[in-house]
Symmetry: C2
Amino acid sequence: MKSYQTMTKEELLSLKNELEKEYNAFKARGLKLDMSRGKPAADQLDLSMDMMEVLDHTSNLKCEAGIDCRNYGCLDGIDEAKALMAQIMENDPSEIIVYGNSSLNVMFDTVSRSYTHGVLGNTPWCKLDKVKFLCPVPGYDRHFAITEYFGIEMINVPMTPEGPDMDMVEKLVSEDASIKGIWCVPKYSNPQGITYSDETVRRFARLKPAAADFRIYWDNAYGVHHLYDDIQDNLIEILEECKKAGNPDMVYKFASTSKISFPGSGVAALATSENNLKEIRKQMSIQTIGHDKLNQLRHVRYFKDLDGIKAHMRKQADLLRPKFELVLDTLEKELGGLEIGSWIRPRGGYFIAFDSLEGCAKAIVAKAKEAGVVMTNAGATFPYGKDPKDSNIRIAPTFPTLEELGTAARLFTLCVKLVSVDKLLENR
Amino acid sequence: MKSYQTMTKEELLSLKNELEKEYNAFKARGLKLDMSRGKPAADQLDLSMDMMEVLDHTSNLKCEAGIDCRNYGCLDGIDEAKALMAQIMENDPSEIIVYGNSSLNVMFDTVSRSYTHGVLGNTPWCKLDKVKFLCPVPGYDRHFAITEYFGIEMINVPMTPEGPDMDMVEKLVSEDASIKGIWCVPKYSNPQGITYSDETVRRFARLKPAAADFRIYWDNAYGVHHLYDDIQDNLIEILEECKKAGNPDMVYKFASTSKISFPGSGVAALATSENNLKEIRKQMSIQTIGHDKLNQLRHVRYFKDLDGIKAHMRKQADLLRPKFELVLDTLEKELGGLEIGSWIRPRGGYFIAFDSLEGCAKAIVAKAKEAGVVMTNAGATFPYGKDPKDSNIRIAPTFPTLEELGTAARLFTLCVKLVSVDKLLENR
């Protein structure tokens, strides 16, 4: 296809005329479609329905350690749930705490605890004038919302195809003791689907932070969330790398079964060093008597082990792959060669990131909304909701049906074209 | 029985000799009994076993509002869970947030949020030099642990048979703006089983706090936890009273099904004013995407309504009543008239509080432990674990079997006698 960049004003105006007709035809359809959030579709949840009855009134509800899972106790999770999460997370069960249904809640509590009580004897952040976090961008809006809520200054770090710009990370972290953390989604990143390279992970592990309480917030949300059997990204295990590099306490690693079993009723976990675990357990012992052990047991009895998880995730992939491919093929077919946007073809995760011409993202999302297709707010993938280039748009292809998705993706590309034409006309 | 107080030195010495023989016989039995924590026994949990299968793979898992309970969303609880908790709590569903499995966690988060972000625009507690809480004593150790964790100074307020000493509460709260809260277990209090009188509740509602961000932490943990059908304590509803008194925002009210269904897998809730709810929901929207809605649905489908809850709690009472009566009868039979201790006969809740002669509680608990019976640590019912009179001991009769409990209660009274004799001999 002919690049929009090389078109004359007349060509663009005539194109605009055509595109507007097409857009108005879409509008007339009164669509109501949603590509905004990384929610599994109902058919994905149906895959886990047998888990609903894995425990019944005849079940032995004692865990391996002999604890009655119905009752109080067992602060940091039952052993077999630790073992299952350890397999998913590629850690040792002794490095794991199993929580309730939300890893976001665990991250919030981790920041909150650092704010109120400090990290391993360091000054609580609430007593400091300035606390900063590095935020690889584009990134996950809910991460940024947590640090914003605690008044933590967020510094954008650009993503590369290998992960965050490590030159910048190394420089900032080693020079500025007010930098206390960095948000990472290291595998099939939200929203780009990038997996950090081996070198990136090793450079993370070898960081020399100015702050003793600097921590990497390693949200491995999509560790087993591949789209393909044969081409899968591989991520090196960060705790082990940090140990080797003499930085054993530098990472909090998060994961959950939210996008394995049920988003609202999964099991979340954290893996970190023994020093960190001790501190966290101390706070937990004040905060709660323990999380839902029956749900932990339900997950273990249903999935059994990593093989069970993998088999299950293959079924999820069978449902998700066509959706990703439909969107990616539509982008390619409609926008390929036009030079008005770029995207990465992810091998897993929940999102596709689209980068429009500068200054177009908000207008594209608004245009899509006007025609009945809800996208994630433009800017949401940046701290404070501010994309300096107004360019990044997160596409979440999982929740709509294939049919809805086809329509939504087509409309999206049409909006991209329309807004891009307007943008190009500004300089003609 | 003859009062120990009137015995001569010789009588006490001879008594001591006898008691020691009896104690040694107990010791020789190598007991391993636990009367330390307010845990339901397995037979109580068995009452809810059908709840395990109220949801199965054929169930409609949408809540009344049409939300798929398996998926993300619905931050503050599904409507029907709000309705059920509202009935239990005697509030309107619009005043309720439904949480995960732990009301303690909700209380911790409430204090933590006040510490980091303040209450309705008031200065965050972490920015204040001094924050204080009033603590009716004896009280619940886990409440005190939360305020201690946040460095909040705790002030003892004596309990009376009507509830906390309200003259003292009114005076302190109106004079000292650094007093930001008071911990209350208003019905079948932990550990005394006292229910606040109507007058006490009304005086709470009419408080004129010096601090705009003073809040009553009203932990109604035992609202429906009666031991008897015919004699039940009644507690006036505090939110309504506060509204009437012009203090609508002054209470956070907590409850859970932990001791209705399963302690580890129940549903917790908070009731408070619309102003407070707005602030809390704002924080929740950063902290989590939502709590376990399937478990909320499970509770609603199983219990249905307040009648279902009441019928269930009658079955619980049938199991608990004999245990309470066994301990109380043993206290009466073994210690009645001896003038070496006092206790209150509760009509509900989970505990019996025993007050020994001054300076004896620690020694009694140690002696019981030496013979294989674990009690709650003496002092635990006071802030910082410090009972100024070293007199209060919390007895938790629910978890052991009746047979175990009989033995444990007998041994306990024997330890009371032995330690009291020693104490009296000091002054002979």
